[in-house]
C-alpha cells in the first residue's frame, strides 16, 4: 500500500534523506572491500521495500558529503570496461560516528514506536 499523494511523498523524501547517511555508513562498515556507488545501490535495492523507494541518483551526493566530512574516504580506479569508478571506504571517524548515530537511531525508533503503539501515558 503505497500512497502517492504529495504530503506522503514529501514525508518519504524527508525520511529517506534523514536516514540515508546512516544507512550508507552502515553498509560500508559491514563491507570488507571498498564499494562503488552502483554496488551500494544494488545492495540497497535487494533489501528495499516498496515504501523506501529512494532514487539511486540521490545516494551519490550523500556519499560525497560524507566524504567531505571525513567519514568516508574514496579513490578512483579504472574499470575493465566503462568509466573509472569511485570506491568508497569508511574511515575511523566514520566508524565512531556510526556507533553514535546507531545509538541515536535506536532511541528515535523506540520513541516513535512507543508513541505509535499508544504505550505512552498521553
Amino acid at each position: 500500500m503505497v500512497d502517492h499523494n504529495m504530503p506522503t511523498k514529501k514525508f518519504q523524501k524527508e525520511m529517506n534523506s534523514g536516514t540515508a547517511s546512516l544507512v550508507m555508513l552502515s553498509v560500508l562498515s559491514q563491507s570488507e572491500d571498498p564499494m562503488y556507488g552502483y554496488q551500494i545501490a544494488k545492495l540497497l535495492d535487494d533489501n528495499r521495500q516498496d515504501a523506501l523507494a529512494m532514487k539511486q541518483g540521490a545516494l551519490y551526493p550523500v556519499l560525497r558529503s560524507l566524504e567531505k566530512n571525513g567519514l568516508l574516504s574514496s579513490k578512483v580506479e579504472p574499470s575493465v570496461s566503462g568509466p573509472p569508478r569511485r570506491y568508497y571506504t569508511i574511515t575511523g571517524d566514520g566508524r565512531e560516528t556510526l556507533t553514535l548515530w546507531t545509538e541515536i537511531w535506536s532511541q528515535m525508533k523506540s520513541f516513535v514506536d512507543s508513541i505509535l503503539e499508544g504505550e505512552s501515558d498521553v
Binding site: 562503488y36 545501490a41 541518483g57 551519490y60 551526493p61 560525497r64 574499470s79 568509466p83 569511485r86
Partner: protein
C-alpha cells in the same frame, strides 16, 4: 525518453544550469559512472539486449534529471565548501570587522596559499617551459609527438592538482576529478580532444603566469610583513638592544619614546590591512584559477 547516456547527461546538464560548475561536474561524473556500470551489468546478464530498451528502466531507478539535480542541490545546501562556512556569522561593526580578519580562516588560508604560490610558481614555470621546449625541439623527429602528448597530459594533471590546492586554501569549489572524455571514441579522437581543448592551453598559460604572480605575492607579502614587524619591534630594539632606528654608520637616530605607541600602532594597523589585502587577493586568485583550470559546463 533518453536513448543514450549522453542524452541523459545533456538533460542533467541543462537541469543543473546555474549550479556551481564543480557540483555540476561531480553530478555528471556520478551519473555517468552509475548509468554505464548499470548498462554494463545488464549486458553481462543478457548479451543480446538493446541498450536503448534497457536504459529507461535504469534511469527510472536512478532518477530523472530533475530528481538528481534536486538531490545535489539539497546536499550542497547542507554542506558548503571547506572554508566557506566561516563567512560572517554575525554582522560586526567597523573596528570589530577590521580586526575580525584574524579570526577568518579564509584570510589565513589565502596567506598560506600566497606563500606556497612562490614555490609552486617556480616549479610550474620550469615544468611548462622545459616541457614545451623539449616537445617543440623533438617535433622534428617522429618521437616528438608522444613527448608532446605526455607533456600536455601532465599539464592537465598539474591543473587538477592546483585545483585541489586552491579549493583547500582559498575555499573555491573546484572539480574533484577531471571530466571523463566521451566514451566509445578512438584514442586518436581522445588525443585530438586533449590538444584542441582550450583548457589544456589555459592551464599551460596559468603555469607560466604563476611564476610572476607567485613572486609578486611573495615579495609584497614579505615587504609588508617586514614593515609591520619593524614598526612593532622598534621600542624593543631601542630599549633592550640599543639598536637605533636609522644607522648610517656615523649618525644614529633614536626614535623618541613618545613615538613608541605610534609606530607600534602603525605596525599593527599595517599588518591588519595586509591581512585584508591577502583575503581580497586570495578571493580574486580563486576566481581566476577557476576560470583558467576548470572546464565550465555550457
Amino acid at each position: 525518453m533518453y536513448r543514450s547516456v549522453e542524452e541523459y547527461l545533456d538533460a542533467l546538464k541543462k537541469e543543473m544550469q546555474g549550479f556551481d560548475s564543480a557540483t555540476m561536474q561531480d553530478a555528471l561524473t556520478d551519473a555517468e559512472e552509475h548509468l554505464r556500470t548499470a548498462l554494463e551489468t545488464a549486458r553481462e546478464s543478457q548479451p543480446e539486449m538493446d541498450a536503448a530498451a534497457t536504459l529507461p528502466a535504469i534511469i527510472e531507478q536512478y532518477g530523472s534529471p530533475e530528481e538528481t539535480a534536486a538531490a545535489y542541490a539539497e546536499v550542497e545546501r547542507r554542506t558548503s565548501p571547506s572554508l566557506a562556512q566561516s563567512v560572517n556569522r554575525k554582522q560586526r561593526t567597523g573596528l570589530g570587522r577590521f580586526f575580525g580578519v584574524y579570526a577568518d580562516p579564509k584570510a589565513w588560508g589565502a596567506l598560506l596559499y600566497m606563500l606556497i604560490a612562490f614555490v609552486t610558481g617556480v616549479i610550474y614555470f620550469t615544468w611548462a617551459v622545459t616541457g614545451i621546449s623539449v616537445s617543440l625541439s623533438f617535433a622534428l623527429f617522429i618521437f616528438g609527438l608522444p613527448v608532446m602528448l605526455l607533456f600536455l597530459l601532465s599539464v592537465r594533471g598539474v591543473a587538477w592538482l592546483e585545483g585541489r590546492l586552491v579549493e583547500a586554501l582559498l575555499g573555491v569549489r573546484m572539480p574533484r576529478r577531471p571530466l571523463f572524455a566521451p566514451q566509445n571514441i578512438k584514442w586518436q579522437e581522445r588525443i585530438k580532444l586533449l590538444v584542441i581543448d582550450k583548457h589544456t592551453w589555459l592551464s599551460f598559460l596559468y603555469m607560466v603566469v604563476q611564476l610572476v604572480l607567485g613572486t609578486l605575492y611573495f615579495v609584497v607579502l614579505v615587504t609588508l610583513f617586514a614593515f609591520s614587524l619593524s614598526g612593532i619591534a622598534i621600542p624593543i630594539l631601542q630599549e633592550a638592544f640599543n639598536i637605533s632606528v636609522i644607522d648610517t654608520g656615523s649618525t644614529y637616530y633614536y626614535l623618541p619614546q613618545w613615538g613608541y605607541p605610534l609606530v607600534v600602532l602603525a605596525g599593527l594597523l599595517l599588518w591588519t590591512a595586509t591581512m585584508h589585502l591577502v583575503k581580497l587577493v586570495g578571493d580574486l586568485h580563486g576566481r581566476y584559477a577557476k576560470a583558467m583550470l576548470v572546464v565550465e559546463q555550457d
